[in-house]
Amino acid sequence: MANVALDPHAAVVSTASGGPAALTSADGTPLARALARSQRRARRRAFLLVLPLLAFILITFVVPIGQMLQRSFYNAGFSANMPQVSAWFAETERGTDPDDAAWAALAADLTAAAEARTVAMVGTRINYDLSGTRSLFTSTGRALRGGIEPPYRENLLEIDQKWGDPQLWSVMREASRPVTANFYLAAVDRARDAEGNIVQVDERQRVYTMLFGRTFWLSLVITALTFVLGFPIAHLLATLPLRKSNLLMILVLLPFWTSLLVRTTSWMVLLQQQGVVNDLLVWTGIIGASGRLQMIYNQTGTIIAMTHILLPFMILPLYSVMRTINPSYVRAARSLGASSWTAFRRVYFPQTLPGLGAGALLVFILAVGYYITPALVGGSSGQLISNMIAMHMTSTLNWSLAAALAALLLAAVLVLYWVYDRMVGIDNLKLG
């Protein structure tokens, strides 16, 4: 009580009740409210200043990503355009054979969809899960333009025998519910069989888990390589005299100022079988003319090119941390009897960990989502999961699967971030 009453102008302490007294300002309003009022103006102005950025981020980042993620578990391509048969699916058990009501509903929906010109959209949705069915829907839609008479089952089967395929009906049942986990199942090479059990897809179609594995493994290798290559450079940068270190810094940053495409194509020029490196190796006789190395259009190419491109992201955080490490720490360790290796290992290296953590996290996260470089120099064995996402976005148009793959990638990165926080502590991160 005594210390709050020290300044009689600012606050009056009411001590009438003997309980904990509420502080009031000189004119009797509660102190908390007076403080809030006095700061409101500054807060409002600060908010207005960041408002444009907030709106920008909301419109260009949060909303599109949110919509994209929504597609990964919500796809109304079938249910919205085929309402009657969707209703029949909802009423019947899984595994029920289609009865007359089902065939009638299907015929009515297909006729309506053909008229509304949405039958191709429905076909695309079914085609995600059962390839070759898009044409079934479009051709049936064309045939139904003149209308259809009962018996619907026979007439539809006459248009195309495939309508009797139980797998097609099972797939349509799955697609009839707009909210579904099926895209996530597909993203981990799983699917539902006719009984609704989750099973692995056919061995030849299992690509995504392998690609996830390859993406994380290659990212790990690239992170390790950037560390091995970047650590000495960062140390040199931090210890050289200013003029020389500035020059070196320009060399480090030079890749940033060159177009990504130019850098990647120059790797092609260097690494291809008739390229500079191979020519040099043959010329010096290290390898024979018939033994030219395949260094590009495979995993090696992806690793080399991505390590080069991501190197600055490792060097810069390391440099910014190393610059702050006083050389007297290592000197102290040396004077205390540590050999230069022990001084490095026990004293210098532990102090660079915040920069190393930041650099590794940065490089790893960027590598996991890298797209252009593996697409250009990766060949088939150097493709990463992001190339598959791009393929589903641009050529198969299965955006829901693309969204599910992207969501899994995002989740994996977030988990990694969490693990890093638990192990090293995110407060120890130093980006610059």
Partner: protein
């Protein structure tokens, strides 16, 4: 005399030179012998080469020329971690990612000492600096003075015979610095270690040292115990660098043994002791400490020459009174008087006559 000591000196610099750029010498022909158990301070302005000398001794810089010996053994080619020299750094250099205990344990670990021995040693070293309670703290959780003590304990924990200190008290406030000065001095006496201490603070140097080497321009200007350095500076640089000092330019008029009569440029003749001036008619700068200037005739030796002085200002400083006088054309002559009960109070404008014992006025080479 120096050369005689080199034989049994604990630390010896012999004709050591150091250049960083191949153009200029930072250390020019350094010869220095430090005895075992001695507390030697290297004192000088920044850029005088004192820290470079310390770094060469520690092994972090190599001598461009000359030899450095430790206990009779040349150590020019010995890497720092094999010299067994304890060192205290200006910024303490406590490893931030280790606790106090780990910091102290580090030099013992790298020497391969067993854990129970290490723990006993660490505890003893921490108790020596009264920091036993802080063994599990991190350096960032300690105050500057506490970090200083830990750094000291770490430099001593492996029982080095030689400890180097590079401005170890520079970052502390005045009171703490004075306290630590005595503590370091006591540790030095208790442990019988040899200390080489670098500082630019002359007060610190005078308080702690057995001998002080005053550095300037890459050379030792004077190497002497504190009292001799203060009372009998060997040249104008030492006289002006150590303590407050009045300098009066003039010409030698006459020699009487060591004594010299100096005719001041601003008029008047004074008594002085010739130091590094040998010829009649030579120009000289006479240096006198402010507290050795007298204005009462009974305090001066009989027959002393006096000169006229006009009081310009008197500043009350508590323990002393500091008078600024106009003497021989300069109005920056300072006289200090003890603030005793019977002390005469001078008034500005008052004209007095000042004089001194001849041994307190030192006729040195002329300053530029």
């Amino acid at each position: 005399m120096l050369d005689d000591r080199h034989g049994d000196a604990f630390v010896a610099f012999e004709h050591v030179q150091k250049s960083y750029d191949g153009q200029t010498l930072v250390v020019k022909d350094l010869n220095l012998a430090i005895g075992k158990g001695e507390f030697l301070t290297m004192l000088g302005p920044s850029g005088s080469g004192k820290t470079t000398c310390l770094m060469m001794l520690a092994g972090f810089e190599t001598a461009t020329h000359g030899e450095i010996r430790l206990a009779g053994r040349p150590i020019n080619q010995v890497p720092p971690h094999k010299r067994g020299i304890g060192m205290v750094f200006q910024n303490y250099a406590l490893f931030p990612h280790m606790t106090v205990g780990e910091n102290l344990s580090f030099p013992l670990e790298v020497r391969g000492m067993a854990k129970p021995d290490r723990e006993a040693r660490v505890k003893r070293a921490l108790d020596m600096v009264q920091m036993g309670r802080f063994i599990s703290r991190r350096p960032a959780q300690l105050s500057g003075g506490q970090q200083q003590r830990i750094a000291l304990a770490r430099a001593l924990v492996f029982d080095p015979e030689l400890v180097l200190m590079d401005e170890p008290l520079g970052a502390l406030d005045k009171q703490l610095r004075e306290h630590m000065q005595f503590e370091i001095k006591h540790l030095h006496e208790e442990l019988g270690i040899t200390v080489v201490y670098v500082t630019h603070d002359q007060g610190e140097a005078l308080t702690m040292s057995d001998r002080i080497a005053v550095f300037n321009d890459g050379r030792i200007q004077q190497l002497a115990p504190p009292a001799e350095l203060y009372e009998r500076p060997g040249n104008s640089f030492v006289a002006s660098f150590i303590g407050e000092n009045n300098s009066l330019p003039g010409v030698i008029e006459e020699f009487q043994g060591d004594k010299a009569l100096v005719r001041l440029d601003g008029g008047g003749v004074i008594d002085a002791t010739a130091v590094n001036i040998r010829e009649k008619g030579q120009r000289t700068t006479v240096s006198i400490r402010p507290e050795r200037v007298e204005f009462k005739p009974e305090m001066m030796p009989p027959g002393a020459h006096t000169i006229e002085a006009k009081v310009a200002e008197v500043v009350y400083m508590g323990d002393i009174l500091r008078a600024r006088l106009a003497v021989a054309g300069s109005d920056n002559f300072v006289m200090k008087m003890r603030n005793t009960i019977g002390q005469t109070r001078l008034e500005p404008g008052q004209v007095i006559r000042i004089g001194w014992h001849p041994q307190d006025a030192r006729a040195l080479e002329p300053t530029a």
